[in-house]
């Protein structure tokens, strides 16, 4: 079988390209520290999402050492918290989102960032991030979840630490998550 010289060159260049792509992702994971959504969030019973250790009553919690944990319930057709009341977190701290769904599959994507995960019933999606600047971020449900899917959106308000500590949704209120969740 004769393989033309140009064809051999092309084949070699193609393999180099492929290896290059894989190498960039390896570098992203190992060097730059890009973490993927994986199975660390554990599972829950979609019929009772707070029954297990893996998920808590939706709300913002201080996770110690200036870190925060945000538990979000995505359901037809709102995020709790997030939709009727914005999620408020301080800037420049590590924030870990835990998102799950008691009904159908949803999406949880924060526009303009690389926070982007599927929300699959029975699974808890866990994503850690740092919002460096204060500001308002928009959450979109990007998976079709029913007839009013297009209304499913929310907000994250990132504020300075001092403002966060002073506000009603600050750590003082967080000890009682039920009080913090208005809807």
């Amino acid at each position: 079988m004769e393989i033309h010289r140009f064809e051999k060159l092309w084949l070699a260049a193609s393999l180099v390209l492929i290896l290059g792509f894989v190498a960039t992702v390896v570098y992203g994971a190992v060097g730059a520290g890009v973490a993927m959504v994986n199975d660390d969030g554990g599972t829950v019973d979609p019929g009772d999402i707070t029954a297990s250790e893996n998920f808590r009553e939706p709300g913002v919690y201080e996770a110690g050492d200036g870190e925060y944990a945000v538990y979000v319930e995505a359901r037809q057709f709102s995020f709790r918290p997030g939709s009727s009341q914005p999620i408020e977190v301080p800037a420049d701290t590590r924030v870990t989102f835990y998102v799950t769904s008691p009904d159908v599959t949803h999406g949880f994507s924060v526009v303009g960032t690389n926070i982007n995960t599927m929300v699959v019933p029975g699974q808890v999606a866990r994503i850690t991030t740092v919002f460096e600047e204060p500001g308002t971020y928009h959450i979109v449900c990007h998976e079709y979840c029913g007839a009013a899917h297009h209304n499913m959106q929310g907000q994250i308000r990132v504020v300075d630490q001092s403002q966060f500590d002073a506000s009603a949704t600050g750590p003082a209120a967080i000890d009682d998550p039920a009080a913090e969740v208005s809807d």
Partner: protein
């Protein structure tokens, strides 16, 4: 002698299969236009739908085009390719018609339950679940049954090609498998392996669950089974286009295929690598360890290889054809190609758009960069270049060449046909570039309304252009695509109304031998058993552990009851 005279019974089957395919294309195309206008808020008041209907339209558009139009067209094309290249009729016409009717019944069941969304008088309550039908959103059992019958129908259609091949093999021991048949068989081996996932999902889980025989299903498991099938299905669409590009396009360009053995190697690579890659649709799914996603990504990147090889071989074959026609220079030969012949120009433009789609696909395949575009408009922007052009435009183009041969009728409205591929190309360029850029700005896919209109702020910040300009391009692009589709249907309808044998066909089905034939290539290339066995092992390696980890806590847990739409 035209194909219809040599193989009248196979030609009749192929005609009916193309007929249903083009009906689905017409209806799916109308849905596409309505959807694009609604979503971009263009003449929305004039459209007869509301936001909830949008999802009915979207489900219909996806199912009719991605499942029905494709499967029927592929069956027609493969019926022709198998009989032509083996030079014998189908082994069983009865079985081939059985496949056709299974596909038709499946289509009618699924389509009725979808259309119930607008016409509640139809049986089977609404099934607005989109073509991915993720549980626990639940469709009517008729929808799942229809999907199952379409899959089973395709299996039976494939069995006919294998039976025909085995008959040929008995008469021709020791000969190399003719190239087109080799492509049909490897495509179907890949398809049998890939459809196991969706067959188990639908038959074992979703049908019993929608009938109330089991209470819950595990949404992550059914999703994983869907994507086990959901990526290779794109190669089920793509490989028939490759069959055309490798075996017919060089002839249409005035030359011959550059290399037969390389074409075989490419199809073998697709058989091996198409299936163990589905997790790249689940990069951002919780519940799946990162390592398995990485394995899947490596396999996906390797899939670039056969497509890059195809780019080389197809372009080399075109250049050879152009030089036979008197072309010269480094790129000047491009001018000598028959750009006024729609069968040629359609395939060539489809190939060009596929190259663009391939590049956006490389972004999708990158595990980390995928975070930027997952479930944004980028994704439908990508697959309208691949299945929506590489496949659809190739089928339309080859129809201009093939329909006369399987009907015995000369192509009508030839000027319309000549312009049609260019209209499609321009329309898709407008629509797809805008969708890609909108996706980069974070605009989600699968939504009826432009989100955040009333929020008072504009969270979507495009790198180039504005959201309004993108909407306009999508609206104009989809309108042009619809015009191109209508032109195609007029040509086909006019040809169908024409008289058989009234005029010379102006096309012939002879395909010249490749520049380098299969003779010198290793015989192991034709050993389908070996390649199938390796493909099965690769799938077991990629899927064994992850599926085990999903089901180890129980097949149906964590479980979700059905949630009707």
């Amino acid at each position: 002698m035209a194909y219809v005279d040599e193989y009248p019974r196979a030609a009749k089957i192929a005609r009916w299969e193309f007929g249903v395919a083009f009906l689905a294309l017409a209806l799916g195309g109308v849905f596409g236009l309505v959807q694009a206008l609604y979503r971009t808020d263009t003449f929305r008041e004039a459209l007869p739908i509301n936001a909830a209907d949008y999802y009915t339209i979207l489900t219909g558009h996806g199912v009719l085009l991605a499942l029905v139009f494709t499967t029927f067209s592929i069956a027609a094309l493969f019926t022709w390719a198998t009989t032509r290249s083996l030079e014998r009729p189908l082994a069983s016409n009865r079985l081939a018609w059985g496949a056709f009717w299974l596909l038709v019944i499946g289509t009618v069941l699924a389509a009725t339950s979808i259309l119930n969304g607008f016409v509640p008088q139809l049986p089977f309550e609404s099934s607005d679940v989109l073509f991915t039908f993720y549980a626990p959103m639940q469709a009517h059992p008729a929808f799942y049954l229809g999907a199952a019958l379409i899959i089973i129908g395709s299996w039976v259609a494939g069995a006919v090609y294998f039976l025909t091949y085995w008959e040929w093999r008995k008469d021709n021991p020791g000969e190399r498998i003719p190239l087109q048949t080799f492509m049909v068989l490897t495509t179907f081996l890949m398809w049998y392996l890939a459809t196991l996932g969706v067959a188990v999902e639908v038959v074992v889980f979703l049908i019993p669950w929608s009938l109330g025989l089991i209470d819950t299903v595990d949404p992550l498991l059914t999703r994983t089974l869907f994507w086990f099938f959901g990526h290779p299905v794109v190669y089920f669409w793509l490989l028939p286009a490759y069959l055309v590009w490798y075996t017919v396009l060089p002839k249409l360009a005035g030359g011959r295929l550059f290399s037969d053995p390389l074409a075989r190697a490419v199809f073998v690579l697709f058989l091996l690598l198409s299936t163990p890659v589905g997790f790249h649709h689940q990069y951002v799914d919780p519940g799946i360890p990162e390592g398995f996603k990485f394995v899947s990504m490596t396999n996906t990147m390797m899939l670039l290889l056969p497509s890059l090889l195809t780019a080389f071989t197809v372009v080399a074959s075109l250049e050879h054809g152009a030089r036979q026609r008197g072309g010269g220079g480094y790129v000047g030969w491009l001018r000598s190609l028959p750009w006024d012949r729609p069968a040629f120009s359609g395939c060539a433009l489809a190939g060009l758009m596929f190259a663009a789609g391939g590049f956006s696909g490389m972004i999708n395949a990158g595990m980390n960069i995928n975070y930027l575009i997952h479930n944004t408009l980028w994704v439908p922007g990508h697959f309208h270049l691949t299945v929506g052009t590489a496949f659809a435009l190739t089928i339309m183009a080859i129809a201009y060449w093939l329909i006369p041969q399987i009907t015995g009728k000369r192509l009508q409205h030839r000027r319309l046909a000549m312009v049609q591929p260019y209209v499609w190309f321009v329309g898709m360029t407008l629509m797809s570039n805008a969708m890609h850029r909108a996706g980069l700005a974070g605009l989600p896919r699968r939504t009826a309304e432009p989100m955040f209109q009333e929020a008072g702020s504009a969270p979507f910040d495009p790198v180039v252009g504005t959201v309004g300009e993108m909407r306009l391009q999508i609206a104009i692009g989809s309108t042009l695509l619809f015009v191109a589709l209508a032109m195609f249907l007029v040509v086909m309808f006019g040809t169908w109304l024409g008289k058989s044998g009234a005029a010379p066909l102006a096309v012939n089905g002879s395909i010249p031998d490749p520049l380098s034939g299969p003779e010198g290539s290793p015989r192991v290339l034709d050993n389908l058993k070996v390649w199938t066995a390796i493909a099965v092992v690769l799938v077991a390696l990629a899927y064994g552990l992850p599926i085990w980890s999903i089901i180890s806590d129980g097949l149906l847990t964590p479980g979700s009851p059905p949630i009707p739409v």
